[in-house]
Assembly symmetry: C2
């Protein structure tokens, strides 16, 4: 097994960082790594905002549910699905830009932004940094967009916090490969298939909380279904001319 | 610069592979690498189909616009945004599953699938394989879903072909970092900002085609706007109960 795969397989999310900021050259290398990712038909439909301003970070942290590691971290990045450059080009060339509001384009921009983000995450971990994705900014994308001056035909998707970790941890066990990987045809799963994994996750939480947290994976998923979040996302995207067609 | 970042920065898409199939243990390592990626609130909302059947590959290749490297490759993977496991759990527990049709859940599943895919891509390249994403399967997702038996609350997103490359190439120049990376606030771009990059891309194509292809990046984007594709994606997703709320 090579160094790259060893790094990939030892990933865990880090939620406590020192105050040390990333250097300019570290940030440049991370952004270059992000940009090297594949991009659908070469459209490069994403942007990255590096948030250095402490007040901005505090406001973003509040939106994300008071996650301190948005404020105290090496650098906080926001990944943006961004079709605004394409809109600008269409306008300048007098070409109809309606299609930028299609679901196809929203998915393309989301995939492009995510490919870039994961390149950055892997690069960061290979440099010894810890990382954590912050989906919590989607709790109020209108406010995030206002804070970061996001234009039409673009939307923030998630944050990525990267910094010097205060402590080490270990990978969290994933679903058994047989539950995720299918050969030639999709094989639907039933509750029985998740039993063993529920035990694994129950043990994992118990070991990390001294027995206080008793929850399997299916319990977590059930909880998520009972408390749906971010119900206004479709309307917000429509307000940015995204995903309506 | 470490080995992992060197690999990330030297990425290029490969479109010609030898006939040699990936071994079972190579595929296992790639899927494990994919699964190690971050996942939103631990929902693991994706599945991966490994397509080994030649007839299936031929049908997928035809849908993607007759891309031979879907058929002759080491392994062809299809990445699926997959909330069907969550639907199964909700059903079994008697919990309302309406929220799985929200735009939030569609984006979460798309992001999860893409994080996993990019882990696999980087792992594959570190092993010496070439890779190419195949967005072309979105030309007819209804047909792809039928071929691969994709259930409700799930949709194929893209393919990823991985194999032994027939030849080496070099990275394609990306947008200048200043056009993609913003500090604290998004800075909108105008056509003037793209001029230098248009020259770079024109030179890149000219050098690779003996002067036959004369096209800047903005010309490519303009062409894409003039010929919108996959207009039925929103309706297809709705037929799978995705992205409607």
């Amino acid at each position: 097994m090579n160094e790259t795969i060893e790094g990939i397989l030892s990933h865990y999310s880090v939620r406590e960082f020192t105050k040390e900021a990333l250097t300019k050259s570290e940030i440049e290398l991370l952004v270059k790594s992000a940009q090297a990712a594949s991009t659908s038909s070469f459209v490069q439909a994403y942007s990255i905002i590096g948030v250095t301003d402490t007040k901005l970070r505090q406001e973003l942290s509040a939106i994300a549910g008071n996650q301190d590691y948005v404020v105290q971290t090496g650098q906080f990045f926001v990944f943006v699905a961004d079709l605004s450059r394409h809109h600008e080009i269409g306008k300048a060339r007098g070409v109809e830009t309606n299609s930028l509001s299609s679901m196809e384009r929203l998915l393309v921009a989301t995939v492009d932004a995510t490919l870039a983000a994961q390149n950055m995450a892997i690069a960061a971990e290979s440099m010894g940094f810890g990382i954590c994705y912050i989906g919590g900014i989607r709790n109020d994308l209108a406010k995030v967009s206002e804070l970061l001056h996001i234009p039409d035909y673009a939307t923030p998707l998630f944050g990525l916090t990267i910094g010097h970790p205060k402590a080490n941890s270990e990978p969290k066990p994933r679903l058994a490969t047989a539950l995720v990987y299918h050969e030639n045809h999709f094989q639907s799963k039933t509750m029985d298939d998740f039993k063993m994994y529920d035990d694994t996750i129950r043990d994992y939480y118990a070991a990390r909380t001294g027995g206080k947290r008793v929850e399997g994976w299916t319990d977590q998923i059930e909880r998520g279904l009972k408390h749906p979040t971010r119900k206004d996302l479709k309307d917000f995207l429509a307000s940015k001319n995204l995903g309506t067609k």
